[in-house]
């Protein structure tokens, strides 16, 4: 399913609608180039999960954990070349009993648990973004299609 966003606010809004049905144990990967709006998307999703404080980029810190209605883990594999068994050992504790968002998921191929949804954000013309959401079940996209379909 492909959506368009014209601003950071729209990206947050879309993410918020999408995330409302997420539950602990769900993994969502968020891919896209620098400045595409991955952290913006995760911030919007976190709001729907009841997280109130700043949701910031974990590029340097690798993992953030927020407490909302549910526990939310926010991971970023930007600085990884791949994920070795030892590196997975550091990431694994962020997964149990949490909704997990993973930015720059490419380095984790083969190591990450299979995601409930894959989000990818691309730069389009100007400030416009193309947001593609692929998921394995219909529940997540149902609300989203109703709320955000553009003519």
């Amino acid at each position: 399913m492909v959506f368009a966003s014209l601003s950071a606010e729209e990206t947050e809004q879309l993410a918020s609608t999408f995330a409302a049905a997420l539950e602990p144990g769900d993994v969502v990967t968020v891919a896209g180039e620098l400045g595409a709006g991955k952290t913006t998307f995760v911030r919007g999703a976190c709001r729907a999960l009841g997280v109130e404080g700043p949701v910031t980029s974990p590029t340097f810190t690798i993992g953030h954990r927020y407490q909302g209605r549910v526990t939310v883990s926010h991971l970023d594999l930007y600085r990884y070349q791949g994920v070795s068994a030892a590196e997975w050992g550091d990431l694994e504790p962020y997964f149990p009993d949490a909704v997990v968002f993973v930015e720059w998921p490419e380095a984790g191929a083969g190591m990450l648990p299979s995601p409930r949804a894959r989000v990818s954000i691309e730069h389009d013309d100007g400030t416009r973004r193309r947001i593609t959401i692929e998921n394995s079940d219909a529940i997540l996209l149902d609300q989203l299609t109703r709320a955000h379909t553009r003519p």
Binding site: G35, P54, T56, F60, T61, I62, E87
Partner: protein
């Protein structure tokens, strides 16, 4: 003598601080000699790396201070925030050393550590002051009323300032670490060539992700040849926008709380433009701006130590406790 250990992120670090506040050893694993000795070219982002380095780093620190564990009477260690697995390596080492010698142990917050680098001589700063703490992972404005008492005034809402430098360097095709690469290239450029936006956010918070995107849009429109000829101007203008955002919020906060003294800590505190623009600010020496254990030893002097019965169960924390 205080022995301090820091393993919250990429660096495995150990330091020794004597009773008079003199830094006797400060060893950080990324230092060139250690790198050569242990052969780490592209370090794994993993606590296993800390596990391999912790003993050699501790040995190197004791050697540098020409002392032994017999002279240590207090052990300090970073408790968080950071990557849990990485923190646990430092905490386990600290517990083992302290327990085997029945020494007290002080858990230290990493962010307080950055501030406490200012208490070392130089600059031997005394509170109260307003501290801008800017690094790859954090950008905070802190009111420091007492040595170990921090009040959070503002924080970044998206990217940290150090991350903005790093990702800007990647967009510009400059090297790593990005902060130093942009700083160098900016010296050859014209900072007024591009008018990058300085985000105005409420309170004393910061935002750098719009700036990163603005740079991306500029770079996207350039051919490789054009980028090569404009690179220095882009670096200078981009750096200027980051520094302006940091300085404007810091000065506004200083005025608001009536701070008589401003200080800068953290990795971005090594940036030459920031250091020259904030006149009269207390600055952490360059070698102590990025993560190190000397700052953890310094902070330990102002915290209550735990006795052996109190620290065996000590755990790490991942997220910032300051709120």
């Amino acid at each position: 003598m205080i022995l301090a250990i820091e393993t919250s992120c990429d660096e495995t670090a150990a330091a020794l601080l004597d009773g008079s506040g003199r830094l006797c050893a400060n060893v950080v694993s990324s230092q060139a000699e250690l790198h050569a000795r242990f052969g780490g070219v592209v370090p794994e982002v993993a606590s296993r790396r800390h596990l391999e380095l912790i003993v050699p780093v501790l040995r190197a620190a004791l050697e540098e201070a020409q002392t032994t564990l017999d002279e240590v009477d207090l052990v300090a260690v970073t408790q968080g925030p950071g990557l849990i697995g990485a923190l646990l390596v430092g905490i386990a080492a600290a517990k083992a050393i302290a327990w085997s010698r029945r020494l007290p142990l002080v858990p230290v917050d990493h962010l307080l550590g950055h501030v406490a680098a200012l208490y070392l001589d130089p600059p031997a700063l005394e509170p109260p002051f307003l501290c801008l703490l800017a690094s790859g992972g954090h950008t905070l404005l802190l009111e420091v009323r007492e040595h170990a008492s921090l009040r959070l005034l503002g924080t970044t809402l998206d990217d940290a300032a150090g991350e903005a430098f790093d990702k800007g360097a990647r967009l510009l095709g400059l090297g790593y670490p990005g902060g130093a690469a942009i700083d160098r290239r900016a010296r050859e450029g014209d900072a007024s060539a591009y008018a990058f936006p300085v985000a105005r956010v409420g309170g004393f918070d910061f935002s750098f992700s719009g700036l990163k995107t603005a740079l991306l849009y500029e770079v996207r429109g350039l051919s490789p040849g054009e980028l090569a000829s404009r690179r220095a101007d882009l670096a200078a203008s981009y750096q200027h926008a980051i520094v302006r955002a940091l300085v404007e919020q810091t000065l506004r906060a200083a005025k608001e709380i009536g701070a008589g003294q401003i200080a800068v800590a953290g990795g971005v505190g090594a940036n030459s433009e920031l250091r020259s623009v904030l006149e009269g600010a207390a600055l952490v020496p360059l070698e102590l701006c990025t993560d190190n254990a000397a700052m953890i030893a310094s902070a330990a002097r102002f915290l209550e130590p735990l006795q052996p019965s109190g620290y065996l169960g000590l755990d790490a924390y991942a997220s910032r406790q300051l709120a």
